[in-house]
């Protein structure tokens, strides 16, 4: 540590001032607009917003999909992370690289693939009909299922990465030790792995949940105007109606939900230990 703190401040300040002035300030003004009605501070905008059935539905749908994606990615994530951690060094690196890779690829490209896959003439429908599960193609595009799948594919890597790094920090041989002491696999998971990796789960859960809340492309392409989520609703409100009050409200909701999820998950993990 160096002693000259003023020098340190001088180094850190440009970045902080830049972000504060060009990023936080405009965002802050936008959020504050939602608390004003005719120039007066008021929560009326929020009451009006909450009273509209469409907004309620979209809010609940966003919450539901966020939870669902986080939950399912945790299940898949644990299975995948456990398998990856048990690979030998070389294979582990490769598989891990392949898991990280999609994060580096444009989400537009990632979502676009699902149009081909889920369309009426896409491979999922071909498979369903080929297997004789249904005579007519099933409508998958513009449904919550499509949005769910798209989001899951988008954010699963974040969960796997978080869990893999949590599991790598597990003390060696705790799982065999628990097995020797007579625990079955479910007990190994709930009594040993889960408590020891909960930090990774919290991190991954937060990333996936907030990612799902704030994703735009996936609900826009795979959900369209029938499966609106908060982010697409915000876009629509602004683009169609110049409704900046609703935009500010949705923005506040999104930020509060992201923070809330983080706090909640932290609380849960703290309570468990």
């Amino acid at each position: 540590m160096f002693q000259n703190n003023r020098e340190g401040l001088a180094l850190a300040l440009p970045a902080a001032v830049f972000t504060a002035a060009l990023f936080l300030l405009p965002v802050g003004i936008l959020l504050s607009e939602a608390f004003q009605v005719d120039g007066q501070w008021s929560l009326q905008g929020y009451f009006d917003f909450a009273a509209k059935p469409l907004n309620q539905v979209v809010f609940l749908r966003t919450l539901k999909l966020g939870f669902l994606v986080a939950f399912v990615s945790a299940i898949i994530g644990y299975a995948a992370a456990f398998c990856i951690v048990n690979l030998d060094g070389k294979h582990r690196g490769r598989v891990f690289g392949l898991v990280v890779l999609p994060l580096m690829i444009s989400p537009v490209a990632r979502t676009y693939a699902w149009i081909v896959i889920l369309g009426r003439t896409g491979i999922v429908n071909d498979a369903i009909q080929g297997l004789g599960l249904s005579d007519t193609p099933i409508r998958l595009l513009f449904t919550e299922t499509a949005v769910f799948l798209g989001l899951l594919q988008l954010f699963l890597p974040l969960m796997i990465i978080s869990l893999v790094s949590a599991m790598e920090n597990l003390p060696k041989d705790v799982v065999p030790a628990a097995r020797v002491l007579g625990a079955n696999w479910l007990q190994v998971f709930t009594r040993v792995i889960l408590p020891l990796t909960k930090d990774g789960l919290v991190l991954g859960g937060t990333l996936v949940f907030t990612g799902s809340l704030t994703a735009y492309i996936t609900p826009a392409i795979l959900g369209g105007s029938k499966v609106l989520m908060l982010e697409t609703l915000l876009y629509q409100r602004v683009n169609v109606a110049n409704d900046f009050v609703s935009a500010g409200i949705i923005a506040t909701i999104l930020i509060v939900m992201s923070f809330g999820a983080n706090l909640l998950l932290k609380r849960i993990s703290a309570a468990r230990s």
Partner: protein, 339 residues
């Protein structure tokens, strides 16, 4: 580091300078068939005016919102949009009255296109009919009511209420279902009841074309201007002639207030409205002419909304009525349909 800094600065400066050097006209247009419009309209105009056209695309209402957001400092000089969106902008005082003496072809336009929203705030450049496009190999459509029928269940798309085609569709559906009144409430409720059978509510005509080519959708209301996307495609698409008739509208061109680029904008308007250009655009089946002097072959006319007789037969909605009632429709739509 220093080198990089210098490089950055240099890049910024040069990009700024390069932009300032040219004469530039920024226009805001619909997003369909831009490749064709480029050939038919933008490229030849750029040659004549010795300027650069910067094109923004999107649906009418989105672009209208953008013009409103940027009102203090207009980005767009000249825009084309639906007549009712233009009227909304005019009422907000965001448009500049047109000096029609600077548009010589103005006199050649159909009467209804010469001053469609009053005060010379806009001129019409093209009419369109709106009807239902459907896959004739799979279904037969002869009434607007068919959109909510079993025939197209799960494979029909409707235009979103916020777009230009939305109100027109409601208008015709109301007629077909026998619901009276401009508030369309019964019609909206009827759509709400069937919402699970509707694939999606599309925002742009261009998007619908994609959905129909993808075979997600086999029938949907659409403006005639988008017909060219269907007519040559791999499936047998057909333009319905419902017993209630067709609806339609007019697209208009306008100028934003205080855009500071009036001369070029007038030059472009005149070019677009001229007999020569309107004929070319008509022959490419891009847009139906508003210039009454345009003459096209019967075969071309077949694809267009051409001729005074046809235009007069369209069940149009009054621009003022659309603006006055739109908020109410959207509210009910959000409540009953899209949730």
């Amino acid at each position: 580091m220093k080198v990089l800094l210098a490089l950055t600065t240099a890049l910024f400066l040069t990009s700024g300078v390069a932009q300032a050097a040219d004469k530039k006209l920024t226009i805001s247009v619909y997003s369909f068939a831009q490749d064709a419009f480029k050939k038919a309209l933008y490229d030849p105009f750029e040659k004549i005016c010795n300027c650069e056209l910067v094109v923004e695309t999107g649906n009418s209402v989105e672009r209208m919102a953008k013009i409103e957001a940027n009102a203090a400092n207009p980005v767009v000089d000249m825009a084309v949009m639906s007549s009712h969106d233009a009227l909304a902008l005019a009422r907000k005082g965001l448009l500049q009255p047109l000096d029609t003496s600077k548009i010589p072809s103005h006199a050649d336009l159909y009467k209804s296109a010469q001053d469609p929203i009053g005060n010379n705030m806009a001129v019409g450049y093209g009419f369109y009919a709106t009807s239902i496009v459907y896959r004739s190999d799979l279904v037969e459509i002869d009434s607007w009511a068919d959109l909510l029928s079993e025939k197209v269940k799960g494979r029909v798309a409707l235009p979103n209420i916020t777009g230009t085609q939305g109100p027109l569709t409601l208008h015709m559906l109301s007629k077909a279902l026998g619901h009276e009144g401009i508030d369309f409430s019964k019609t909206i409720d009827a759509i709400g009841e069937k919402k699970e059978d509707i694939v999606t509510f599309y925002g742009r005509s261009s998007q619908l074309a994609q959905l129909m080519l993808q075979e997600e959708v086999i029938a949907a209301p659409v403006g005639r201007f988008a017909w060219s996307r269907f007519s040559g495609a791999k499936f047998p698409f057909k333009w319905a002639e419902p017993k209630e008739g067709q609806t339609g509208g007019m697209n208009v061109m306008l100028m934003t207030k205080g855009n500071g680029n009036e001369e070029l904008a007038y030059q472009f308007m005149e070019y677009w409205l001229s007999n020569e250009t309107q004929t070319r655009i008509a022959e490419m089946k891009l847009d139906s002419p508003a210039n009454a002097k345009v003459v096209v072959s019967d075969e071309i006319a077949e694809s267009l909304t051409y001729g005074a007789e046809l235009i007069n037969s369209l069940n149009m909605l009054d621009s003022g009525a659309i603006i006055d009632n739109r908020d109410g429709w959207v509210e009910r739509w959000n409540e009953k349909v899209v949730n």
